[in-house]
């Protein structure tokens, strides 16, 4: 949230098509950490020459952001790589099926070498989990609906990599962005303010409080300032099935602004 470096690099135009959301595939797609690693090695040797180390070397294509000219599903990517795109000068690549899976896993991870294994399910079912069993809308806001105290997730799929989102669902405390930490403030006049931090500098701090007010405070007015590291979000490990987590992740990844 807020003025973070991650937010700064995001292209919200990606909300267009692309990505997992449009997939017609029904089964969960599993991307293992080991496949992501081997996909990285194959990509670096075979793909980076044209697509670039960051995956944005071809106009109109940004692989880690899931922005493609033609592809949508994993099978689309498989076909594009295997057949090439003659008109665009992309040659066909003769990969083994396992190599193709690895390259796709690397792309789907958002080029996330630190990424853990993750599974992506169905967007529509994931939305039902988000709004129903998961109870996520009790705290989170999406596209203008829901409370604002927890981070607004309208573009979370563009801001964070899939494995980080999965970690936020299963072990919220480990995946919280530092700027989002809860703050407890006691002013010199005795007032207390609890909020979520939005921005901070040497002299001031900006936060949103539980009444959804944006508040900017000068530190010289503050007597006590505590920054919490524990997330207020419950872990969904064991509360949602593996399939439900995969569906929820698919939905969150599809939120791109």
């Amino acid at each position: 949230m807020g003025f973070s470096r991650v937010a700064g690099g995001t292209a919200l135009c990606l909300m267009v098509l692309a990505a997992f959301g449009a997939s017609a595939q029904t089964g969960n797609r599993q991307y293992s950490a080991s496949n992501i690693q081997s996909g990285y090695r194959i990509y670096s040797m075979q793909c980076a020459l044209c697509h670039g180390a960051n995956g944005d070397g071809i106009a109109g294509v940004n692989l880690p952001r899931q922005q493609f000219r033609r592809a949508s599903t994993d099978d689309d990517i498989r076909n594009t790589v295997t057949n090439g795109v003659a008109a665009a000068g992309m040659p066909p690549f003769r990969f083994q099926p396992a190599e193709l899976d690895a390259v796709i896993a690397y792309i789907r991870s958002g080029f996330d070498l630190s990424g853990a294994t993750f599974a992506v399910g169905d967007v529509a079912r994931g939305r039902l989990v988000f709004e129903g069993k998961g109870g996520c809308t009790a705290c989170h806001r999406v596209h203008g609906s829901g409370p604002r105290f927890a981070p607004d997730l309208s573009d979370i799929g563009a801001l964070r990599k899939p494995s980080a989102i999965q970690a936020a669902i299963l072990q919220p405390g480990t995946a919280m962005q530092p700027i989002d930490r809860p703050v407890h403030i006691v002013m010199r006049d005795g007032r207390t303010i609890d909020g979520r931090r939005l921005n901070e500098d040497t002299a001031t701090v900006q936060l949103i409080d539980r009444q959804e007010q944006l508040i900017s405070l000068e530190k010289s007015d503050i007597r006590e300032y505590r920054i919490g590291t524990a997330s207020e979000m419950p872990s969904y490990a064991g509360k949602l099935s593996t399939a439900e987590v995969a569906d929820l992740l698919a939905y969150l990844i599809s939120l791109r602004g």
Binding site: M1, G2, G8, A11, M15, G144, S216
Partner: protein
Amino acid sequence: MRKSFIASVALLGALAAATPSTAQITADRILRASAEPQNWITYNGGYDSKRFSALKQITPANIRDLELKWVVQNQVFGAWESNPLVVDGIMYVTERPNDVMAIDARTGRLYWLYRYTPATDSHVCCGANNRGVAMLGDTLYMGTLDAHLVAIDAKTGRAIWNREVADHKSGYSITMAPLVIRDKIIVGTGGGEFGIRGFVAAYDAKTGKEAWRFNNIPGPGEPGHETWHGDDWKTGGASAWITGSYDPALNLLYWGIGNPGPDWNPDQRPGDNLYSDSVVALDPGTGKLKWHFQFTPNDPYDYDSVQIPVLADIDWQGKPTKAMLWANRNGYFYVLDRTNGKFLLGQPFAKVNWSKGLDPKGRPIMTPQPAGKPTWPGVQGATNWYPPSYSPSIGLFYFSVWENYASIFRREQSQYQAGRTFPGGGQTVFAPPSSPTIGVGRKGPIDNWTSEVGSGATVAVDPHTGKRVWTFPQYDVTDAGMLTTASDLLFTGGREGYFYALDAKTGKEVWRKNVGGSIVMAPVTYQVDGKQYVSVISGNSLMTFGLRE
């Protein structure tokens, strides 16, 4: 900066009282914008677009104590033409191409930054500008370079919805700040240099669904279509790239319309080319045309009429009159009756030779200059989109003028191709041989065209006579807008990077600060915790001034 115990209590109290958790800005609050001068809640400071503030803490007597309070530097290069809104202590301002910032208006620190990346094949003639957001409830609305309208949560800085207004591939774009009327968001499109067919459209604030669309060029069977020949209307330009005004009592929405296309070859589009270079009065509920007034028929000079309609109730020949004041890019100052569009007065405010005067209905008597000879005013006009101001307490109308500035226009046949420029010729600024010429934006810190090519002025015009009451000359040309206050101060700037406060009655300079970068928008003023501030964008910096404590 250490604050006292009492000040901190006051601060928190003010924040708690002033920012309810829902419906920050209601339609009623926008109607009564002048009743809350501590805020700047629409592009033009209110529906009448006077850019006059009732704040008067900063006065000619204490202005020597005006000091810099904070600066926000933008994250991108290029002219920064945005107009901030300020609502209950929070400033919302855009930067290129389509970023929005929410800023604590006391300290200049950001709450959030929203980033939207327009399509890379967006077309804009004159810079990737955005002039600001509109606000309703706790939602902000922004038009984008790729001609979308985006609704953004004002507290979280996250998108709520995103609608395509027009196809950017055909040359449509949005650079203007939207206008909110009741439950509708109204925008116009740019792209007059790309053979578009411009329009003004209204969208439902909640859903983004289009409510109505007024085509600035009437289609077959509609009144005004006869002012075009053949298929010329399909590519006739007539963009709408600056925010309009609204009179709630008359329930009329006023919008200035841009030049016809191709820009410089009227032979390719014979006829008056309605409603190019006109002001249109629309029913804001339906988009139906109520009246129009055309300033420059069959325009060969790119004299966009995208100036802001300024609505003032004045005495006209002994009668209280609902007037519209308009200093046009074509060099004439106009007074219209805004109830019906009737022409009341037209006077040149700068050197004009493309016309020798206006007829009794306000239609110009055209005097085209021979090929190769200069036309006054030049292609950027004697004024342009820069926001003017009207002070009701003084009764004068203020705006930026380009003086002694002419262009030599050239007509050529242009072939329309979707998404490509459709110029119909070109123009060169009239200048001594080998001299650099003035461009749309400043190119560097040396004014090497000098006043031999053109210069600027801030002027005050009496709407009753159309005559200048005073002139504050600037050496370089100026694209700055105006702000007047109830303490009879006029704040403005120019390309040279001076931020001025003038005595609005006399035009005498009362304060000046070299802020180092071109000022290409109007300053705004607001108040937080009982303290008045004035903000201005200069170069890459948004600066906020207040009185020394």
